[in-house]
């Protein structure tokens, strides 16, 4: 962006004016239940707009410079432009995995392949899913992630079209993991992409989902992702999000989880790409005896900025939540951690733990860490803590005194520090990819 440019497009106005074009491209879908939701979300976006720094939740993250860019949206018919070779290096090397590829928000059926096909599960695009599972989509779409509070969620809901839909029926365990590969094709244009996912896992079902974000090309791009996850009674869902986008990419992502009785949800969020990244991860416990794990790692350098906001919302008794977020911040980069544990009045016998650790590798690296506990019940076990420091000089010396050079000693220690977050990834091939990438980044 050139600061001397006088004419700055107001992105909000532009997006608003595009909604009618978008509607025209829906081809007869305009009268459906979903579209009434879109319209409602659109009105909400008009009202809410983009969040500004003045809001407490956006205190440390200023998106204004990013939003001044003249982004375009792509909602006309998608013409595949990427080839297999272009995405080869992003693939998880597991032959059994389900692969869904989205390019600038469009489902690319040619690059994708679905392994798990039976009447117990649906893995695919929204529009295909509508054919057989309209009722499920209508029941859950935009019901988990509220769009009347957050402008980005409203915007995403308004323009949601070709998203990802995963549906696991009662008592079905999906053995093959799902890899949702999101690519921003920024080779020639600056796109603003709305990525949408809906995951519905019925009673007793289970699934592992990895979703990662990459950029091809050097143009600026903006990704606005909303993921809704419904964990039915006694279901098990693992979700991994890896933010791998390029240095001219902006990313705002909301993962909103609804957990029923006895369900178990685990999320691992790794952020090491992108110029500015904002991750919102919220889980609401709407039944007793639910279990929830949040793992996070952010590894930042240069002028990168990552803001992690999490909420474990204990509404019911006997639930367990555990959160571990770790940061390694170098250069002039900035990390933000805002983790909230909410224990509501009825949530007796809650066990909720949270910790946020940070290592600052340079004098100009910054972390704003704000763990928050709000407790309205009296019989609970909760703890939280945050630490910020440098590499431990005694550990460094110990390694060096055995002949290990400074660089390698540093890598070993940082790797060790990050390992408990990385070990939470249960797809072996993905974890190995993450380990390789981490080692490369630590060098």
């Amino acid at each position: 962006m050139n600061n001397t440019e006088t004419e700055i497009t107001d992105l909000k106005t532009k997006l608003i004016s595009e909604f009618q074009d978008f509607e025209k491209n829906l081809n007869g879908e305009a009268e459906t239940t979903l579209h009434f939701i879109r319209k409602d979300a659109f009105e909400n976006f008009k009202e809410l707009g983009f969040p500004i720094k003045k809001l407490e939740d956006w205190k440390y993250t200023n998106l204004n410079p990013a939003l001044k860019q003249n982004f375009i949206q792509s909602f006309t018919e998608y013409t595949p432009a990427l080839k297999k070779e272009d995405i080869e290096k992003y693939l998880i090397k597991n032959s059994g995995i389900n692969l869904l590829v989205f390019v600038n928000g469009h489902f690319d059926i040619g690059l994708s392949h679905i392994e798990t096909k039976n009447d117990k599960v649906y893995i695919g695009s929204f529009s295909e899913g509508m054919k057989d599972h309209k009722d499920v989509i209508e029941k859950h779409f935009a019901k988990i992630a509220a769009y009347d509070k957050n402008g980005f969620v409203a915007l995403n809901t308004a323009f949601a079209k070709d998203g990802c839909f995963i549906y696991v029926k009662k008592n079905y365990e999906v053995k093959e993991a799902v890899h949702i590969l999101n690519i921003s094709d920024a080779q020639s244009e600056s796109y603003f992409s709305q990525l949408r996912k809906l995951v519905v896992v019925e009673e007793g079902g289970s699934i592992n989902i990895a979703t990662d974000y990459h950029t091809i090309g050097d143009q600026k791009c903006f990704t606005n992702a909303v993921t809704e996850i419904f964990c039915g009674m006694n279901s098990k869902v693992e979700h991994y999000k890896i933010q791998n986008e390029g240095e001219n990419s902006y990313h705002v992502g909301t993962t909103q989880v609804h957990q029923e009785k006895d369900s178990r949800f685990s999320d691992t969020t790794i952020s090491w790409g992108g110029a500015i990244t904002r991750n919102d991860l919220n889980s609401v416990f709407d039944g007793t005896n639910t279990e929830c794990h949040f793992y996070g790692l952010y590894l930042l350098t240069g002028r990168q900025h990552v803001d992690n906001h999490t909420l474990a919302d204990h509404k019911m008794p006997h639930c367990y939540s555990n959160e571990l977020y770790k940061g390694i911040i170098d250069g002039n980069a900035t990390g933000v951690f805002n983790g909230k544990i909410m224990v509501r009045e009825d949530a007796q016998k809650t066990n909720a733990y949270q910790s946020n650790n940070n290592i600052l590798l340079s004098d100009d690296a910054t972390i704003y860490s704000k763990p928050q506990l709000e407790i309205f019940a009296d019989d609970v076990k909760c703890s939280h803590g945050a630490t910020t420091g440098q590499l431990n000089p005694d550990e460094m010396f110990y390694l060096q005194s055995r002949g290990i050079g400074k660089e390698n000693a540093r890598t070993l220690l940082l790797y060790a520090y990050a390992s408990d977050v990385i070990d939470s990834i249960k797809i072996d091939e993905l974890r190995e990819m993450v380990v390789k990438k981490l080692e490369m980044k630590l060098k």
Partner: protein, 257 residues
Amino acid sequence: MLTIKNLKAKVETDEGGKEILKGLNLNVNAGEIHAIMGPNGSGKSTLASVLTGRDGYDVTEGEVLFEGKDLLEISPEDRARQGIFLAFQYPVEIPGVSNTNFLKTAINEIRKSKGEEPMSSVEFLKLIKEKAKLVGLDPQMISRYVNVGFSGGEKKRNEIFQLAMLDPKLSILDETDSGLDIDALRAVAEGVNKLKTKDNAFIVITHYQRLLDYIIPDFVHVMYQGRIVKSGGKELALQLEDQGYDWITDPKEEASV
């Protein structure tokens, strides 16, 4: 092998520095075991730190030569690569780094510095087995994180295990005996005796003579207030055991080595 001449060193403090080593002389040849004894606070650990290059110390005078080369000029890792090893008085715990990964990295970096190929996994595992047996370390401990959850004695034993794995020329043992029960002490001492050859050397820092019943030193030095104030043969250790340090801590009685 090692020549220390008139070594004076300060520890960096908020007030600018406090002199701890006040003109220390020592000469260690290949094939020798030297014991350094002395009351708490006399500067024994400081000497070990200065020799291995820990941050936070300023050498203000004197020199240290290792195999004829200036030791103080080079980084801690290069000292280790040239064959200096310190068994720490207080070994640190390193969560997340396994003993095996740690040792493999160390061995291969030392090899690389000599222009040698990395050790094969088969060779490495064989070495681990052999050395664990030699120092009496439970092989289970080796796959665990470095010193994490180890008892005091296990940590010390792990130091000697590392020593055995890295096969240094000069080993400095800083109070390896403290915190050990008699069986562990004997095991550690036996390990050291097996590792000793005519080509390597040991500096054994202790303030009890107990360890020296098992590791027989060629020389015993008494350190007091940053200097070696008396040197002798192994009988000096027995004399110290009998009479304590009082008779020796008169600084005028400084002996040369």
